[in-house]
Subunit: 318 residues, 2 copies
Amino acid sequence: MNSSAADGSTIKDIGEFGLIDQLRTHIGANPQVLMGSGDDAAHVATKDGTYVVSTDLLVEGRHFRRDWSTAHDIGRKAAACNLSDINAMGGVATALTVGFAAPADLPVAWALDMIRGFEVECAHVGAHIVGGDVTESDKIVIAVTAIGDAPRPVPRSGALPGDVVAYAGDLGLAGAGFAALSRGFRSPKKAVDAHRTPHPPYAAGPQAAGAGATSMTDISDGLLADLAHIASASGVAIDLDRATFAIPEPVMTVAEALGRDALDFVLTGGDDYALVATFSSETTLPEGWTRIGLVSDGSGVTVDGAPFEGVTGHEHFR
Amino acid sequence: MNSSAADGSTIKDIGEFGLIDQLRTHIGANPQVLMGSGDDAAHVATKDGTYVVSTDLLVEGRHFRRDWSTAHDIGRKAAACNLSDINAMGGVATALTVGFAAPADLPVAWALDMIRGFEVECAHVGAHIVGGDVTESDKIVIAVTAIGDAPRPVPRSGALPGDVVAYAGDLGLAGAGFAALSRGFRSPKKAVDAHRTPHPPYAAGPQAAGAGATSMTDISDGLLADLAHIASASGVAIDLDRATFAIPEPVMTVAEALGRDALDFVLTGGDDYALVATFSSETTLPEGWTRIGLVSDGSGVTVDGAPFEGVTGHEHFR
């Protein structure tokens, strides 16, 4: 983990987050970026206003499989994970660009179904595709950049001791669906569908910003992993209350079938694109938000006062 | 060329531009896009202003080779081709996002050199990297989105009969460099360097917009191919005057060594990211712009009144 470029280390040696850290330190400070590196989206000043912007790369075989998901589902999910980054800033996405690299023998119909999936998902927030690029590659790569408006952008770094922790959206469903698909199952449908097309709580981001959320992020790598980013960026400790989590029925089903702890999916499952945020203890939580823990002095994320066993998240390059 | 998705055709059957056309027709009209699809960048309205945005995907082995170019050069070129799209709208790029997919065994030093290359190129226009994403893939893929300000965006569609055609920047240098490298040569240096790190005329785009250019595009696929987009979008014919082109010395050298027509590189070579624009005949061309032809009623692009033999450009997926 302490490797640096000078010792000939590879991306595998330092991991995805290690590489991001090193790239960040090589990018100078920028007065136009009002809030940026280390948040879900950057908040950037223009001549006549501001916008928030985020980008994601989805690679076939790593972020999606053509035998598990339709082109339409893959387009929806590619859009969703980017719209979610804007949601996690408390903003609303307005414009997407889509870069699409694909094998030359890909049916045109597949690409068109994918774009329709983008449109269906974008319609949830009123965003539109405004530009794109197409090229050839061995495997499909989808590069999405989302741009939006955020009147009051919420960073990861604002959580304060005494704040309450709350989430909105699904937890564990997509992770359970992924686990089921990995074992060759095609059910339970609600979990498998959640893996194929997550349902980010698009209203919840702007509502939390409006209610004065002190920090926020979306849950792409797992609740504990993403909360760890808030704890680290804010310089606080976070403790979750196990009893506050209602485990969704399909997650129970998958956990029982695979002999796993259902809470493991809820706490470490990724790709649901739920939101987790912190609020002052006096704040009335907006509808759809559920209180699950507390912020205090210190560092790290615990469950009922202890580290949660089996925290995995899912970092790339490992 | 008349294939459609319904007949089971593949991307190879309809080509890159065919796929882009079909994707476009599947994306509905959008009141936020003031000017977009079919231009070098989209001009988008926000709550409190406007921006221009463009995106490009670069794939290893297709857009760059690690044995031909350093990581620094590849970063510079990836930045340049995106900054050029904003330049071609008459704008100035302010922010870039960079998605980076790479094999896990890639040295960290390579990624850092690439990012330094981005920064060096961005410094030419005062732009900064504001966000990014990192993931794993078999081959390196670099996805760049550039966002900028354009007080008076110049489309491809505004050329009028009677306008003069002019260009700014290098023509044929990068194409000659590519041809030389393809034959195993490492010289002439100026041409090979132009392939590795093109020098877009960043001042020329805003100057042309300020001077009232009626249409503009950058030259990524070759002068004739990109002028054909202006002719088509504007519904006009364009004729170039062969005698107006000064052939750069390194292009002559490569043409002689390979037994090719030097003018072929100038008219069909890509990747120099020069600009070509049209202006009213009364306009005094800004410094750095050279008059090369005339716009008239009709369609298509000719040289001295006749189609140019050996027009190739370089479309992908072929």
